[in-house]
Symmetry: D2
Subunit: 362 residues, 4 copies
């Protein structure tokens, strides 16, 4: 299959370029009978949209989502759902001069290498604007999972540059996350992060960071060994997001220096129910969910687009100087939080549906 689809039973296929006519997705496999309207999706898009705060790009897109199929009289019918947002404030002229050159650490060079052609208008398909479609699809998965299983997705910004929060996962709420412009639920740290991002912007530079992913009360027993283990699909989902360089779950890279006797999570009886002493596993064993919360970390590099002058080369083999003129985020993490949530929800939803088949022997 070509690369623009994700998921097997809850399957999304996205389309659209940064400065094309529209961006959107077909969601195929959403069970029938889910109450759904644009109002269920729009809030998540609003968390991702540009221009929402002083530290995000000032491109002015309403990102109004429309559902063009698959829903009748306020409920899904089991047929493909098309969600679409038409582009409005697409200033291709901003990019005209970039037509001939390869921006450092952008996909310009590789898209041309691969396809022999590239859409040079605002990174075309390689723009993070594509993730709008993922957020819309994820909103549907989130709604279904919350109603069926009580599952919640509560990702937040854990680190920006070297500023980092160690907030207790149990204290994180959607409200505390969204109470912060940088989407860090730790007030003091959030303030420091904001200062850093503002400084980076003044310098014409960009900065990376880490998002902590959190899935509360996931359905137990989901994940399909040996290749489609839940963390494997979750990792792929995260690594497919623009600017992501790393993924770890549970103890992660830190677990590499631990001993087994310290790392092993104990099982014990809580009344008649099996319970775990801790959760270094991160919510899965052998790739299958235990029912404990799933937590993971996603590393984002600093975005490649910076105002500082850089040297690069053109298609015709000239060395040139250039500096980005477009409207960009100095730090993508605040807007990436809903993308992480969306992809986590899509993976969870897909595996929830797959488990129905795996459990069909009972």
């Amino acid at each position: 299959m070509p690369g623009n689809s994700f998921g097997q039973l809850f399957r999304i296929t996205t389309f659209g370029e940064s400065h094309g006519a529209a961006v959107g997705a077909i969601i195929d496999g959403c069970p029938a009978g889910l109450k759904l309207s644009e109002e269920d999706i729009q809030p998540d898009l609003d968390r991702r949209k540009p221009g929402q705060s002083s530290i995000t790009t000032q491109r002015s897109e309403a990102d109004n989502i429309r559902i063009l199929s698959g829903v009748m009289e306020g409920a899904t019918t089991g047929t493909p759902i098309l969600v679409i947002a038409f582009n409005k404030d697409a200033k291709s002229s901003d990019y005209n001069k970039l037509k001939e050159l390869y921006r450092p650490s952008h996909a310009d060079y590789t898209y041309e290498l691969k396809y022999g052609i590239r859409d040079w208008r605002g990174s075309g398909r390689a723009s993070a604007r594509e993730t709008l479609a993922r957020v819309a699809a994820g909103a549907i998965a989130k709604k279904y999972l919350f109603e069926k299983c009580g599952t919640q997705f509560l990702s937040y910004v854990e680190q920006t540059g070297t500023i980092r929060t160690d907030i207790d996962l149990n204290k994180v709420t959607r409200k505390s996350i969204d109470g912060s412009i940088v989407r860090c639920p730790d007030k003091a740290i959030s303030h420091k992060m904001l200062k850093l991002i503002e400084q980076v912007r003044r310098e014409g530079d960009s900065i990376g960071g880490i998002i902590k992913g959190l899935i509360k009360s996931p359905p137990p027993g989901i994940g399909e060994p040996v290749f489609d283990k839940l963390p494997a699909d979750l990792g792929k989902a995260m690594l497919s997001i623009n600017a992501v360089k790393g993924f770890e779950f549970g103890s992660g890279f830190g677990g590499a220096s631990m001993r087994g006797s310290a790392h092993n999570d104990g099982l014990f009886l809580k009344g008649k129910k099996i319970s775990f002493s801790k959760n270094d596993a991160g919510g899965t064993l052998g790739g299958i969910t235990t029912g404990q919360d799933i937590y993971f970390r996603v590393a984002f590099k600093p975005v490649a687009t910076i105002a500082k002058q850089q040297k690069t080369v053109t298609k015709s083999g000239k060395t040139v100087l250039f500096s980005a003129q477009g409207r960009h985020d100095p730090c993508v993490l605040p807007r990436a939080v809903p993308i992480v949530d969306a992809m986590a929800a899509i993976v969870t939803m897909d595996h929830y549906l797959r488990q129905l088949s795996s459990a069909a022997g009972r």
Copy 2:
């Protein structure tokens, strides 16, 4: 699709349990005309097999691979290749007492949760013995890619516990890797790692570590945005390996604290050819290979099986004490190196074939 297949055009499906009759794979989609015999595969299996050194499990398996289809007169015919190794030294009796209890941090509990049943003999399908099949399939991909593109796979153990090498990637050779029992090409560090592993074994414990993955001279232009980016599929492949908790490529988690101006890799002209000043990207831009080497890191937790006594619970709800009696590795990393290489080769091969279709417009 169920979870036991990986890859789209070079597609492997594995089968077999630790103490069942056999372990193996069907490889579907291997191009016809590749010279191939068991001798091309066996050396990689020998790198993975138990009992190869003083620090690996003493289970005695020859792991002799047989090819039962898809090859005629020493060449592939384009039809499915079945590779199989029959199990010999499977002492299920070692596991008899584990039938009723859930070992901490093993997949016992979740397999039963998911399937309602589990193969309790040596972890059944959840055993790393399954990776034998991946190594066999990977050997085929490695051979094809080396002959077609000169690509090489040179993963090694970078870290065990907190002992770590900073060896220059350009100095790593297959010989220096395999010259070390722990598969660390840095002699001095390798020696320290060996001491640590021996100590851990004496303590009846286990230890984790990090494997550095290295793909030299990968085919340029491979990787399928927006979901099947090369690092996304590579990450999934690694995260599907037993005991893996994290994956990062290029600058990885370290990139999260960098500024864009420092992180961006410059493009310049080397003669008439485009070249890069450095490789913090890790060999891909926008999910597509530049042609530069790909490097990545894979974090392994300490294996769950330890000789130390642990408390746990049984199916029937009793608390019990137990300690592993079977033959196990105190540190899986030396034997995991060929698995990482194999999965990296399978991903690269699959995307090499996919690119033929993406480039079909030219």
Copy 3:
């Protein structure tokens, strides 16, 4: 995967309902660099659209196709192509009374059985209006294949009721097909068919028929044994079209009563090239194209919607009388010809791309 996608490397996913906002498709996997605009697609849609002649439904839809992604400056970029036609003349009120009843031989009953809900407006997703999206996607495949391989798709109406043409396949041209309102290239027979269809309409009834599919100069060597043989995928494609009840290729059902000595197609040398004495095979051997023309037949039942009064039952368990009031075709075959061509082109295109990978050993 859910059921709304077709193809593996040239992959279409369709969306939309008869009386929803729009109908369309994402085409993922179209090679970059193909010259493409709406003008390349519209003519095929015009062959399928309602209201084009006196014997087709008078629903008035312009079916104007728009391309919203994947094309820049007149050429495909290798990214997903969204094609969409907004619905205009959707008179749901025509269907209001059908909300509660199950029309005989329609999908009303089974959609509700399967999904627990159904879009009752003009058959919803089960309407043949969905095939508009297939025709649009097929137009792209047809253009690519004609430019790369000189392949042409020339299906026509062979039989309506019991009236049938035996026209020589070599004499069939697009012009002779489209010179006939019923899309039968045999003038005398076409006239008889027209009379029959007009009579059937006057009777408030409907009539079935057979379309002969013809693929001229297909790429040789395509088709993927053992399951994805070209005729198997072609057959599936045809059997997925509304109202289709049968598919045969080459000698088809007639071959069942032949002897091998008569059925076998001889090979001989034409100069230095291998040639065939005849083509009872229908253009493939072992599921792989020989390079000869492919021909096949597709049986359509009479459409279920008729003006005649019928008895049926309602959801609430009442027996009722009803007769269709909407605007319908007494015979769908003339409008189904471009659908057959489109699906044949999509299958051929998909297998053409797949063969690039199968041939990668050379």
Copy 4:
């Protein structure tokens, strides 16, 4: 995906060549907890195996099936099931002289065209011996469906040459089918068919025929519009069987000459349950099962291998005479009956599992 897998959630991948070491399949996605042993599979293989009667090839293969994974203590565990039969009586020497020539109407020419190489030993992968694997996989699906849903698969030979039975579908039993060497449940017609086949064999020729497929009491509500309609997948499954040239279901090609008023199946109330006046639909509406029996017809051409002398050409461009010396069936239909049943069961099983996900909104 390459072409050797079939099904999505109940997914089989077959391997093996006629004169290679073995033939078999991995079945991935079989639900855990199904009681299963070799004894459940062998009887179906015995219906397909060579040498079972005077009119089948005398190649002597026991076709003993072994299960090498996925089953523990007599029950499936949810992991991949490997079924395998080792080849014994493979006389490649019979084929030695065919190495250089292309047999008429065989896949020799096209496999070489496609892959650049071919396994010339007894047709290699293109041999119907591959279907052994399908029958083994189908036996598992049949067992599951019978236990869960009471579904039965009762295909039989309806036509050989021009001799045809019109037996009432309700009178067909497994016993009456297997009471006939030609697998035609109509005694008088069976006798005539036998005479015909014996005569054809004496003439050194072969003969085709038609198998009627019958699925009794299929699960209602299965089939995934718009592309994976049940008859579309069923048709593909049948068209992937060696020598098949056509597929029709319900009224089939005969329906093409009917009027809608005659073809439409009426709905009426039988007590409080919805029932149908007849079943010209063949058990599905809009591609989804109604719960009525599914019936279909599969056309087989006469096998290409005949003893009569034929002229053909060699790879090096010479015209030669040859006649088949191997051991072959003059009519494959009796042995093809279990293959039709197996593929029908695999399709039904796959869609049964898929429906669990489609119905997940309730």
